[in-house]
Symmetry: C2
Subunit: 344 residues, 2 copies
């Protein structure tokens, strides 16, 4: 006989315009799920352990067309990256008890009908939550965006915005490991301290305290910037363009300052792309999951040897998930924002 149990979910109320509010999401405690897959299913039933809050999710809360990801459906539970444990498997590659990471529902249990998109977790001697960060999508994003798109050389000058976030904190550390000089920007004194004292950035500054971003960049980069890892867009990009060095590279990972504006800000100084021969390149990590094994080979030893560190901001329980997600856009999180639902 089937065991049917409660399955709390986080549901999008309606499409969002402007800054998302906690009330744009609600907890539906009435949903249920059967703890056995339907007969003949080749999918998985998983128990969700950790949910990942990521800036890209903002775009799915709007009514969008022609983007690389579809909108969430108002009235339905949202999805995102997460770490989960297989409870029932109809797929030959997975068995009960396997740990996986990849897209999953914001709910206690999920049915996954395309298990081939999930990664099976091999290393369990590291915190499982890392598979929402350094060992998951943000980690590979930092790796692909920094090593492949920016092609860093020893001694180059690197600037990272939103530098204490899930991706930025890793880019800064990768830059130091590559022998670069690296400066980060963030939005609080606490984050600036973390950048300098925890992640080993050479310098860091609070962009909210700078009247003139161009002047701030000139202070930290008197000889200019070779590599800009772009997470914010808008006025910061405008100032960075003035400070790029010849043949500089800008990898465009995201532009979080723009996601909540109904009409994005215009960015001036693009003519610097010509005069400085700058390459500016947008990327989506989803195109390059083929790099994941290579990345793991590099990063697992770094973690185990304590050569790289991760700061997580962990919210407890699905009840705290809406606030955790929304908090990304006001910079409330310190480090990688995770929601823990269960630890095993």
């Amino acid at each position: 006989m089937e065991e049917v149990i409660r399955n709390k979910q986080v549901v999008l109320k309606d499409y969002v315009t402007g800054f998302p509010k906690e009330s744009d999401l609600f907890l539906d405690a009435s949903a249920t799920i059967s703890l056995k897959l339907p007969q003949g299913s080749n999918g998985l039933l998983v128990k969700n352990l950790y949910l990942s809050c990521d800036p890209y999710m903002r775009s799915r809360m709007s009514k969008v067309q022609g983007s690389y990801l579809e909108s969430f459906t108002p009235g339905s539970r949202i999805v995102g990256y997460g770490v989960a444990k297989v409870v029932d498997s109809g797929h030959s590659n997975f068995k009960r008890g396997d740990l996986v990471w990849g897209f999953t529902g914001w709910e206690e249990y999920s049915i996954n009908t395309s298990p081939e998109t999930l990664f099976k977790i091999q290393h369990t001697d590291v915190p499982l939550s890392y598979y929402t960060g350094i060992l998951g999508m943000p980690g590979l994003t930092a790796y692909f965006g920094f090593y492949e798109i920016c092609a860093p050389k020893k001694g180059e000058y690197v600037f990272v915005s939103a530098a204490s976030g899930a991706v930025g904190q890793l880019v800064g550390q990768f830059a130091k490991l590559s022998g670069c000089y690296v400066v980060g920007s963030a939005g609080t004194k606490e984050k600036v301290e973390l950048l300098k004292n925890k992640f080993g950035f050479d310098e860091a500054f609070n962009y909210k305290e700078e009247q003139d971003l161009d002047a701030a960049l000139k202070r930290y980069f008197p000889d200019g910037i070779d590599i800009y890892f772009e997470n914010v867009g808008g006025k910061m990009l405008e100032a960075v363009l003035l400070n790029m060095r010849l043949h500089g590279r800008i990898s465009v990972c995201g532009m979080i300052s723009q996601y909540n504006l109904e009409q994005g800000e215009g960015v001036r100084n693009l003519v610097c792309l010509v005069t400085k021969r700058v390459r500016m390149q947008g990327f989506i990590v989803g195109d390059r999951y083929d790099l994941y094994p290579k990345y793991m080979e590099m990063v697992i030893p770094l973690i185990k040897e304590g050569k790289i560190c991760c700061i997580e901001d962990i919210a407890e329980g699905l009840e705290s998930a809406p606030a955790a997600l929304v908090g990304l856009f006001s910079g409330r999180n310190v480090g990688k924002q995770v929601v823990v639902m269960a630890r095993e």
Copy 2:
């Protein structure tokens, strides 16, 4: 005994702000020059035949710092690309009668103290003026910017702005030779006709007659743009970004719409670089003159076989040079703007 003769010059009156006017330049008919090099010189004395009017020259009319080219000096004759004939040589690579192209003064005769920067003209069975266009800097610009930066593939969708200009007209023809679909924009009905009937663009439109550039681009590129050859910047770039295809490429050759603005326009929609994984790359042809021999091998046969054509807008005499140069910025020229001073 030295022969000293008159040497008319075009002089910059003062640094220019805003749109340049003909009166920002003046003709100095009082200058003189000796028709023999000083004893011991290892330079060249050349007679200037054709002068090239190019948009990049605008930046040298302003007081600029830290650009890739220095400002012109107010009160002195300006310089630019041109075709010239050697009158006296102190350099072993050149002899009297040689034809050269490269940087020269806007004057009847020039002394060149760095002849190693000049190209000796080998092919004289083509119009000499072509060395200010298809066989000179604009030609190599189109070649490097299109083939190397954009890496076109057969069947791709290509958009070129300022498409009837010296560089644009070549990019469009290179795109057709590469099996691409190509659309150009220009600023008059006459230029649009040239694009379609003379240069073989698949389609062309007058951007001044379009209320909505995004809608215009969607009309010509219902499936989007793979390659944008950027010559104008501003609102056109903003609209193009909305219409780029996945993994599209934007080669940023110039942004003529911005050169005369005291404060450039802001460009929105840069977040499309991420969602569409677009590479946007600025370049300066001066970095890649090593490609010139390879380019000549390709383009000389195309010219001789009539597979490529060039439209020049030829102004007669140094007296007409200020108006010709300034006319670039109101789009008065039709095709490559040249000033002819002497035909041999």
